[in-house]
């Protein structure tokens, strides 16, 4: 599912993510700063070695609504923000592949860095999304969880 690109581009998708595509999309003539964060599947978690993939599950409608809340809160805190793009994978994502991308643009770097950090932190805390760690011969839900909160409280 994907919203129509305007100044925000939010997507929950089973398709591969392209950090470059989001980085380019947020470029605006009045912006001297683009910050892009890409979250990647790594081979271990705090409780497990040899992770080969992650599998994400959500309710896409609710997740997109909560992502909009994240972007709204970022815009309230950093009014200079121009474009904001947040895409999150669902389904199985292989090792070293991007699971989430946040890209923001602003006239200056301070707002861009701060807003990008806020967006990924608030996403992790407030968007209903669950990941299962997969390894050879088994899988389990991630232990690295937090009670779901609100973007404005991050």
């Amino acid at each position: 599912m994907s919203s129509a690109p305007t100044s925000d581009w939010i997507s929950i998708t089973e398709n591969p993510l392209s950090p470059d595509e989001l980085s380019n999309w947020v470029i605006r003539p009045n912006c001297g700063a683009v910050v892009t964060f890409s979250g990647i599947v790594r081979d271990h978690s705090s409780t497990r070695e040899n992770v080969i993939a992650l599998e994400y599950e959500t309710n896409s409608e609710l997740a997109e609504q909560r992502l909009r809340d994240v972007v709204d809160e970022a815009r309230a805190r950093w009014p200079a923000l121009e474009r904001v793009a947040i895409h999150h994978r669902i389904g199985r994502v292989e090792l070293s592949v991007s699971t989430v991308v946040v890209a923001v643009s602003a006239p200056h770097r301070d707002a861009a860095f701060a807003a990008a950090q806020f967006c990924i932190d608030a996403l992790k805390a407030s968007v209903p999304m669950w990941k299962r760690e997969l390894w050879e011969g088994g899988s389990a839900w991630s232990d690295e969880t937090s009670p779901i909160g609100n973007a404005r409280d991050q």
Binding site: G39, Y56, E57, T58, N59, L62, Q65, H88, T99, V100, I120, L123, K124, A125, S126, V127, P128, M129, W130, K131, W141, S142, E144, T145, S146, P147, I148
Partner: protein, 78 residues
């Protein structure tokens, strides 16, 4: 009749992604769900949030037909 939507680890604990319940209040449905699904679901429910129609709701909230109850275990996105 209210629809219960079970997300992430909650659907594993309950053995299904959605279900339907009669109940006057939200709490009635949750108590019945623990009886129906068992102790593991009850343990997960204790650390989960429960939303009604997309928003947090108090246990005493009275239900109407077509209400959607979501069980949201602690999240792990990103």
């Amino acid at each position: 009749m209210a629809k219960l939507i079970l997300l992430g680890p909650a659907h594993d604990a309950a053995g299904r992604r959605e279900d339907h319940f009669d109940g006057v209040t939200l709490d009635d449905v949750l108590k019945e769900a623990v009886i129906r699904y068992g102790a593991d679901f009850g343990t997960l429910l204790e650390v989960s949030q429960v939303w009604l129609n997309g928003e947090p709701a108090a246990p005493a909230t009275r239900l109407e037909s077509h209400d959607e109850i979501m069980v949201l275990p602690p999240v792990s996105g990103g």
